[in-house]
Subunit: 331 residues, 4 copies
């Protein structure tokens, strides 16, 4: 929680220190003075757009955060693959995805920066995130991922043409296949069981560590959380990224897969690896649920179904009101 | 804003903790005592130089910050190119530019550490940075970049001679071309549209994320901002750095290009890639404006034209007084 | 100590700021409200499991922390070895182990995140960690390491089969040996003395720096400690990792060695390098004790046997009561 | 200064939070209770060793800090050179030296963690560091560097024998030269002027950025300073490390050079590159002085000769008393 406390403390202080603000990188405090007039009037009748944005904050936040994730993530794979490792190597890919998550979280912070339906699900089940928000988050993440992948395609289109050998050639397999830029495909030696297990364990580690990083009763990463997420994704890529490409996220994998299908990579995007595509759709949910279950069962002492009579099933009987602390927090 | 609050809190505290200062790395607190006498006198009649420096603080700050950026940035490219990848690889270049921005911001913090005319423009448009400062920042950044590039040339001159095969040979293309040390040149397969789009999207991401990092109503990076900028530049280089070399900054690209022209790399520094040179001059401005527009429209709730009646056009009618919070903050 | 102070401050503040919580990544504060009812009842009769977990906190914490360490650590070696350096290189291994320790500490923070029996011993000798806890920590670390190694084996089983050339082939030496995935084996040119010294010096540096990072009278890393541990392990791997593979931890080396023996790597896991296996079991203890001795003798001014009459031997005469601050701190 | 304030705040708080300490990684607070008895008695008659250590704190601190720097720094070069790049590459060397400085500063924090005579000189000239301490710092740094280099030699002796082809062979030049492990040698194409300039500019950047990082009136790195130093040294190595090996430190270069001479690398350690050895002894002082001069002249507004009548020459006339804030701060 320290992250939030920081920002709050800060706002409190700004009033007193505006005129000595040293941090040139953020002018908002200083500007407060200037727009005061406009704001006064605004308090009475807020702008229509501001009202709508407040209403749609979660959607915009997750959409843009996940878009940033895919811009860096698919972007780095494109650069490494298309330049034949001249402009990066496997390690660069770990950097790219780690950085994508780090900044996706900074961008999407107002909605929690989940960027991943499985993380959202785990927050609904274990952290009281309102269920009614799940569909909104899910759609925002999926569409954001598709947008990011489409932009990467637009940016690297001429490079893909050069690499594939023609603007009408798009291949999933072969020496100059480029489908791997957008979504994950399993290594050739993998068994079905191996694919399932690899995605499951990676997702379990992901959620297990995320809950540790955000546990104020443990060490907790506080303001370092986004930076730690860089290391977490980097680590999963370096340690469990080979066999299935560590999708660990339906939005990140299925969204771009759809995009690549629309682009014209053909039916193989679905059939490759014995219709592997469903594994990174399903397993992240199971893995993240299991990771959350492990953390709450053995370490977490805060409020959680694990620490509540009847595993907190009461909530299902008396669902929370719309006006949850989150809506407030996003005002 | 926490960065600024930190420093302010700190100064407040120092008075009480001088004699227990543990951080040997910064002796200023301790020295306060010592120079007290001199200072007393100074309060009455400040030194002429101090007065001038206060007046020219923005210029010095941006000049030196951008110089540091180029020292690391052009320096790493020189080392990698001239040593034929023996003393670094493509990833080292991402490190070098990221580190250059990180320390450029630490050095140029008093003026906001923009280091980039496009970032300054976006701050003028969206964060109320005084327009009258734009020309000062622009010149300081351009001259700082030229100085940095010139120093790098001086440092690597003998290595360039050895690599090019003679002290009078300076080539933009060919097996031993070294012009790429100073400014960016597009990859061979790129179309004009591709170049424009690549610079545009990179600059958009740059400004979009910078506004997220400095948004106190979002997570915000606070004191971690310079470190986050390292990751941001590293990421842009790893994910979008291949096609046009991610100039995303007029000062960083045009300044050193001028220097390389003066050095004697010839007319090709302008003509290469179908007179590509204007793209990294123009697109960063458009990209950063669009990135700022996106962030303020969909996420930013603080004072911004997007959140103000008539998009804050009032300001154009009643421009701010000279004595803006920034001048104060730089005292 | 600042890490702890953070979390404490934070909890203090939460009560007042729940409804303005900005950090979407941690919902616990918000949930407090919700589960209030259930909690009230809980105060009277805590759940049986919560009571047991409180009792076994140290064990769970060290077990899971060390498991995470091995998941990343053995995982990265597996990926690099089995992919023939296609999916990583030696540097990736430094990344993997560093990240493993970093997140192992975040996960195991409630018990101090030792993850290493030698570090636990040094804390008992120099920092008053209760001796009665040593066996618990030791077993938890050993079993956690074995579990982590077993999971990695499960995850990479098919890849190992493909690499070794058959599901019944497991080799310690040879062109396709994979035993190095699980535990360390010395370089061929090493003498017995060299092995002993290499493990000793690495462990000395480990404990010496850890005590510096956690010394509140020195600079101290505070909340940055887990991140610093990433750099420390990375550095030991990059600087002293070649000769013996920097085990510097009985749990990390002996645990997985047992697992690999059970898997069927045969007697060579013990006999290789002239029965080298005992060196990473014994030397880390001696090295960490010496590192702690050096730090406390020459730098540490806090409470330590070095700074106490009779080197604090009193404690041996009057051992502390069960109810030490730690048990409290883990409530 | 925030680093120091942190630690101070912290100590203040500990008293109140001992029994809720969450940060298991630092037990000192908890132990306070335990040793209270012993301490009481100690207040009356402190231990002889504690008294001596307090007196020699600066020496121990700089000695051990510089030793750590060389352990990582020379260690990584040894591993990369002797393993023929199998266990690291040029980038690993940047990592190793960066990490060495980072932890050298954490270890040597009580004396300011200069680790470099040139940095100490700059602090004497520009930050009122007592001149009388310069010789102590100088000797401590030199001896610490020699010790670190000697330990690295001991650790890698068998590897050096294997690489050189015999235990009595130690070469500075040739295919299997290993002298480069200990100190720096210039690249073959370098002119005398080039060597001088390369060391000068690197040292200038070093001190210029250090003063920026520790300037509480600029952004300032506060508790992030040691981490930033990692990036600074990494950057100097990646951008200016090729031509002369970025010694930028008399202790780091001359100390190990002496050691390698004692080991038996012969007269060539002095004569190589036209008796290059004096350049990394002299230029760092000039470079750091110039870097400090630049920062204080154009940016620093705190107490500095640049900001003082007669450039603070008064001090030379009335030198400070022995009992300076530092001696106090190190009590």
């Amino acid at each position: 929680m320290s992250a939030s406390d920081d920002t709050i403390e800060v706002r409190a202080k700004n009033t007193s220190v505006d005129h000595e603000s040293k941090d040139g990188m953020n002018d908002s405090a200083a500007v407060n003075a200037e727009y005061a007039g406009d704001y006064a009037s605004e308090d009475e009748q807020p702008l229509a757009w501001s009202r709508f944005r407040e209403y749609a904050q979660d959607f915009f936040s997750e959409f843009l955060g996940t878009m940033i994730l895919l811009l860096f993530g698919d972007g780095v794979v494109a650069q490494v693959v298309l330049s034949d490792d001249a402009k990066g190597d496997y390690q660069s890919i770990s950097w790219g995805w780690g950085i994508g998550v780090m900044f996706g979280v900074y961008v999407g912070g107002k909605s929690g920066g989940h960027l991943n339906p499985a993380v959202t699900l785990a927050n609904c089940v274990f952290r009281g995130h309102p269920w009614k928000k799940f569909p909104v988050y899910f759609m925002a993440q999926l569409l954001g991922a598709m947008t990011g992948a489409a932009i990467v395609y637009g940016n690297y289109r001429s490079a893909i043409d050069a690499y594939e050998g023609g603007s009408n050639i798009r291949t999933v397999t072969g020496d100059h296949a480029t489908a791997g830029i957008f979504c994950t495909y399993p290594a050739s030696f993998m068994t079905r069981t191996g694919m399932v297990f690899s995605e499951f364990i990676s997702s379990t580690i992901l959620q297990f560590v995320i809950f540790a990083l955000t546990d104020a009763n443990n060490i907790g990463a506080g303001p370092l959380t986004p930076l730690c997420l860089f290391f977490l994704i980097f680590g999963i890529g370096a340690c469990f990224g080979w066999e299935t490409g560590y999708a660990i996220n339906l939005a990140r994998d299925f969204g771009p897969r759809l995009v690549s299908y629309m682009i014209g990579y053909g039916h193989e995007v679905w059939s490759f690896g014995g219709y592997y595509f469903w594994i990174p759709m399903v397993m992240p949910f199971l893995g993240c649920l299991f990771g959350g279950f492990l953390y709450d069962t053995f370490i977490y002492t805060g409020p959680s179904p694990m620490n509540t009579p009847w595993l907190g099933l009461k909530r299902l009987v008396h669902p929370r009101k719309t006006r949850s602390p989150w809506t407030v927090s996003n005002v």
